[in-house]
């Protein structure tokens, strides 16, 4: 199971036939395992890592440190939910250290992101302060180096 997940994490488009051959299992076994992993949400979704910058989009990504006043019984979870339900919000993490929530927001322009923070995020009840950082360049994303220049430099045939 772990091996199957590792392979898919790296390339979700691998055909079942290929996965089966690599893991020395039957195609049926792989399909069955996938169904189970999807059903119990170990596999959440099959996404594609896209370099939007290269495609021509120039979105703005902002990393925001959010401080909140935790609420009785629900702690941070209720406020986190009020934040992560917004479509603009890409990721939300509860953090240890000098702030509570790390919120990653993507928007079409600086203005739109700033507007979202000012009007939507900081006005949520329980949010006590925000501190925004704008991302300038992505070098590596989810384990993938964005502009990897390490090509195969080997000779075409060697003994």
């Amino acid at each position: 199971m772990r091996e199957l997940l590792e392979l898919l994490e790296h390339d979700a488009r691998r055909p079942v036939k290929e996965l089966a051959a690599m893991l020395n299992k039957s195609e049926f076994e792989i399909e069955d395992a996938l169904k189970k992993l999807e059903a119990n949400k170990v596999i959440m979704s099959y996404n594609t890592l896209i370099d939007w910058e290269r495609f021509g989009d120039h979105n703005v990504t902002s990393v925001i440190e959010v401080n909140v006043a935790p609420q009785r019984e629900v702690g941070f979870d209720a406020i986190a939910e009020r934040i992560y339900r917004f479509d603009e919000v890409k990721s939300v993490y509860l953090m240890s250290g000098s702030f509570d929530l790390l919120v990653i927001i993507e928007g079409q322009s600086l203005n739109k992101v700033a507007d979202f923070v000012a009007r939507r995020l900081s006005t949520i009840e329980g949010v006590t302060s925000t501190r925004s950082h704008f991302m300038l360049k992505a070098y590596k994303k989810d384990g993938t180096i964005m502009d990897d220049k390490e090509n195969d430099r080997r000779l075409v045939m060697t003994p």
Binding site: E18, M22, R154, L155, V156, M157, P159
Partner: protein, 389 residues
């Protein structure tokens, strides 16, 4: 003929030209070629190893090392063999660091061979063994193996070629080009044979870390009575993806190591110190990355084996290294014709089996040290090639 050619030494003239040169020239000019013809990992050396070399340079590791190699590196090599094979080698006297296993094999042969001494070499085998024996003044005696036995050499087969002049047995398992690994029983048979004829055994175990399916590599020196008569070779190229660094080593009794060092000090002086610094890092912290790579080879191995079986080419499941050695006789072509046609029609590069010895005729060597996508692509093209013969 250029008049200087007659000035060349008899030994050099006796060494046949490379069996892959002409295909290489064709393949190198194709821009869409998929190659399964490369005998080295497709991984770049793990970053922490590269980084340690850069740091070493910054710290000024730019001078010669002692001839036998940096003391710490030899200590780490000794520790590795103690840890993984329960073998005790004295880092002072029983280990020499060389410029790849290639140099170590050359040193060992030159250290022990006299003119006319015979060296038993099970084939198919790595291309340089025979040449090195000839250049050292010895006579290579090929011992053929075949697919019916998954290219395993046996004591019985070796017996047929022993003469009073036989001095050395040179073996390389896990094997390039076949991927064959010998079992403990088989190795014991060979050990008894070496004992019986009082042979020196040269064991090239560069692919020792690359065995699959839960198979443990058995170090030839660890067999009862073999440590003293065996010169054991290993290096960093395959397991740590460090081919271009040119770093290998030999382990043997002090007499052999001292003799090899004599040649080494006058010809090579020492292995590159930058590589030695990186080698220390590889041995100290490289296991996790190495296992990751081995794991990846194993998946590719399944994929490529399954692919050739599906096509109906007679092949056996390789258990080590990163090669598979399918039989192509059913196509009616020789190895070289097959390689040439496959390259021309489908732009896939593989190595003709006869480059590794006469008994490799009828086979091709395919390396799976390349990405899954390329392996799949190459398999599709080969399947297409077979359909259109």
């Amino acid at each position: 003929m250029n008049k200087w050619e007659e000035n060349l030494s008899a030994a050099v003239k006796q060494v046949p030209p490379s069996g892959i040169r002409k295909f290489f020239d064709v393949a190198a000019k194709m821009d869409d070629v998929i190659t399964l013809g490369i005998g080295e990992p497709d991984f770049v050396t793990p970053w922490h190893i590269r980084e340690s070399c850069v740091y070493g340079l910054e710290k000024g590791y730019t001078s010669y090392s002692t001839n036998k190699g940096m003391p710490l590196l030899r200590k780490e090599i000794a520790a590795l063999y103690k840890r993984s094979h329960a073998l005790e080698y004295d880092p002072e006297e029983e280990i020499i660091v060389t410029v790849g296993v290639s140099e170590a094999v050359d040193l060992a042969l030159r250290a022990v061979l006299d003119q006319g001494d015979e060296v038993l070499i099970p084939e198919p085998c790595y291309v340089s063994y025979k040449a090195c024996v000839i250049l050292a003044g010895g006579i290579p005696v090929p011992v053929a193996t075949g697919i019916e036995n998954e290219f395993r050499v046996t004591a019985d087969a070796l017996e047929k070629y022993v003469t009073p002049k036989t001095k050395v047995l040179l073996i390389g398992y896990p094997n390039n080009p076949t991927g064959t690994v010998l079992t403990a029983e088989e190795l014991k048979g060979i050990a008894a044979f070496a004992q019986k004829h009082d042979l020196i055994v040269l064991s090239d175990e560069i692919y020792g870390d690359l065995t699959y399916g839960g198979l443990e590599h058995i170090c030839f020196s660890s067999l009862p009575g073999m440590k003293d008569r065996t010169i054991l070779f290993n290096g960093f190229s395959k397991a740590y993806a460090m081919t271009g660094w040119r770093l290998g080593y030999a382990l043997a009794n002090p007499v052999f190591i001292e003799a090899m060092n004599k040649i080494h000090q006058y010809t090579m002086l020492c292995a590159p110190v930058t590589a030695q610094v990186a080698g220390i890092e590889a041995l100290q912290n490289g296991d996790a990355n190495m296992h990751k790579m081995i794991h990846e080879y194993d998946r590719r191995r399944h994929l490529i084996y399954e692919g050739f079986c599906r096509m109906g080419l007679k092949t056996f499941e390789p258990k080590g290294a990163f090669y598979i050695f399918p039989n192509i006789e059913s196509t009616g072509m020789t190895s070289e014709e097959f390689v040439e046609n496959l390259l021309e029609r489908e732009h896939v590069a593989v190595i003709p089996g006869n480059a590794f010895g006469e008994c490799g005729e009828g086979f091709i060597r395919c390396s799976y040290a390349t990405s899954i996508d390329k392996i799949s692509g190459a398999l599709n093209r080969i399947e297409n090639f077979l359909k259109n013969i």
